[in-house]
C-alpha cells in the first residue's frame, strides 16, 4: 500500500512536471514563430525596449560597478599573497567579460524585468484582460510575448556590454585609484587574456539569458490563477525559475563555447 502511494505521488509529480515543460515549450515555440508574423504594435514593442533596456541601465550599472570593485579587492588581496598583484587586472578582465557581466546582468534583469512581466501578464490574466484580447481576435502570445521576447533578446546583450564597460572602470577605480597599480599596466592587463571570442561568448550567453527571462516571465504570468495570490506566486516563481535556468544555462554554455 505504501509503495503504491509513493509510486502514485511520484507518477503524479512527473506528469505535472512534464505537463508544465510541454506547456512552456509550446508557448515558447509559438512566441518564436510569431516573431515573424504581423501585425505589430510598434508602440508596445518600443515600450518593452524602454522597460527592459533603458530603465534597467541604473541597476545594471550599479551592480556591474559594485561586483567589479569587490572582485578587484578580492583579486588584489589574493594575488598579493604571492607578490603577483599584476595578475589581478588580467583575471579581472577574464572574469568580468566571460562570467560576471552576463550572469550578474541576467540575474538582475530576472529580478527586475522578468518579475514585472510575470506580474503584468498575471494581472491581465486574473482581470480577464487576456480573455478580452482573445475576444478581440488577438492572439495573446503574439501580442504580449513577442514584444517582450524581442526586447529582451536585443537589450540583455546590450546591457551586458554596458556591464563589461562599467566593470572595466570599476576595476580601474579600485586597482589603479585605490591600490595604486599603474594605469597602463591595468589597461594592458585587462585585455591580456581576452580575445574577441570572449566578447562573443558573453553576448551569446546574454542572448540566451534574455530569452529565458522573457519566456519564463511571460509564461508564469500567462498561467497565473487565483487572483492576487496567484499573481504573487507567479512573480516569485518567475524570478526563481529564470534565475535557476540562467545559472544552469551558464554552466552548459561555458562548457560548450569554451571548447
Amino acid at each position: 500500500m505504501l509503495l503504491t502511494a509513493i509510486l502514485d505521488r511520484t507518477g503524479l509529480w512527473v506528469l505535472q512536471a512534464l505537463e508544465q515543460i510541454g506547456d512552456f515549450v509550446v508557448l515558447g515555440s509559438r512566441a518564436f514563430r510569431d516573431i515573424f508574423r504581423g501585425p505589430f504594435d510598434r508602440r508596445a514593442v518600443l515600450r518593452q525596449f524602454a522597460a527592459v533596456g533603458v530603465y534597467s541601465v541604473p541597476v545594471v550599472a550599479l551592480t556591474g560597478m559594485a561586483v567589479a570593485m569587490v572582485f578587484a579587492v578580492q583579486l588584489h588581496y589574493g594575488f598579493k599573497q604571492f607578490q603577483a598583484e599584476g595578475l589581478a587586472a588580467q583575471v579581472e578582465g577574464l572574469a568580468i567579460v566571460r562570467e560576471l557581466a552576463p550572469v550578474i546582468t541576467g540575474l538582475m534583469l530576472a529580478g527586475r524585468v522578468g518579475s514585472a512581466m510575470a506580474a503584468e501578464l498575471g494581472t491581465m490574466r486574473v482581470t480577464e484582460q487576456i480573455d478580452a484580447l482573445e475576444c478581440l481576435a488577438t492572439d495573446p502570445v503574439h501580442y504580449l510575448f513577442v514584444p517582450r521576447l524581442v526586447a529582451s533578446m536585443v537589450m540583455v546583450p546590450l546591457l551586458t556590454g554596458l556591464a563589461i564597460y562599467i566593470g572595466y572602470w570599476g576595476g580601474y577605480e579600485l586597482l589603479v585609484g585605490v591600490q595604486g597599480s599603474p594605469a597602463a599596466a591595468y589597461q594592458e592587463g585587462f585585455y591580456k587574456l581576452l580575445d574577441l571570442r570572449d566578447l562573443w561568448i558573453a553576448l551569446v550567453k546574454a542572448l540566451v539569458f534574455g530569452i529565458i527571462i522573457a519566456l519564463v516571465g511571460c509564461w508564469r504570468g500567462y498561467r497565473a490563477r487565483n487572483g492576487a495570490e496567484g499573481v504573487g506566486s507567479a512573480t516569485t516563481a518567475s524570478v526563481v525559475t529564470s534565475s535557476l535556468w540562467i545559472l544552469i544555462a551558464d554552466f552548459f554554455l561555458t562548457k560548450m563555447l569554451l571548447v
Partner: protein, 270 residues
Amino acid sequence: MIEVVGLRKSFGPKQVLRGVSLSVEDGESLVVLGGSGTGKSVLLKHVMGLFKPDSGHVSVDGKVVDQLSRDELFELRKSIGMCFQDAALFDSMTVAENIGFALTRHTDLNPTQIRARVEECLHLVGLVGGGELKPSELSGGMKRRVGFARAIALKPRILLFDEPTTGLDPVMTDVIGNIILDLKAELGVTSITITHDLKSAFQIADRIAMLFRGECIALEHPEAFKTHPNPVVQQFLKGEAEGPFLQDPPPLHHYHGQPAPPAPRSAHEA
C-alpha cells in the same frame, strides 16, 4: 443563430455545466438568469471559444466553435462582441485606445477614421469626450459602458454581456439596460445577456433562460417565464430565502442569545 447542444463542462471534480441546450435566433435577445456559480459565465465563454466543452457543442451560424482552427476562430470572434463583467479594459491604454484596439488591428481604417468610429461608439454608450481618460479614472458604470463601446467597435452581429449591471446602483442599472436596448435597436444584433437583475432581464429579453446547477431548467418568453411552474424559477423571481434554490440555506431566524434552530428541509431535498 447560436445553438448550444448538450453542453457539459467540469473543472476538476466540479461539474459546472451538465448538458445545457438552448438556441438563440438571429436578432433575438436572450437573457440567462441563475444564481452564482451555476455556469452562466462559463456558458458565454464557450460561445466565444475561450473554453472547450467536455461534451456537447456550441455552434454559431452553423460553425461548431470548438472545431474551428485558431484562424477561423479569430475570424468568428470579429463578428462577436463580448462585454465582460468587470469590463476587462486594458489598463495601460486610454479609453479611445481600448475602443480603437480591434479597429487598429483588424481593419484598414486610417487614424482619422478610427477616431471617428471611436467617437461614434462613445456616443452610442453616452460617453462623448471621455476618450483620453484612463480606465483607472472611470467609475464602475463608465467602465462597463467603455467595455460596450469596445465590443461594438467592429460592428459585430452578436453581442454577449456578462453581468452588465452587477454592482451598479439602480439608476446606472437602468442606464445600462437602456443602452443595451438602444444597441439592439440600432445594430439589430443577436445578444445573450447574463444577469441576476430581474428588472433589466425583463427590460431587454425576448426570451429568458434559467440555469440551475448546470442545467437549463426554463427557456421562455418573459410573460411565460413569470408563470413558469418550476419552484426554483418562482423562488428566484420572488427572491425568497426559503425554497429549493439554495443548496445550503443559512439559518433563517435569529434568537437573541439562543442558537438558531435547524433550517427547514427544502422542497428540493424532500
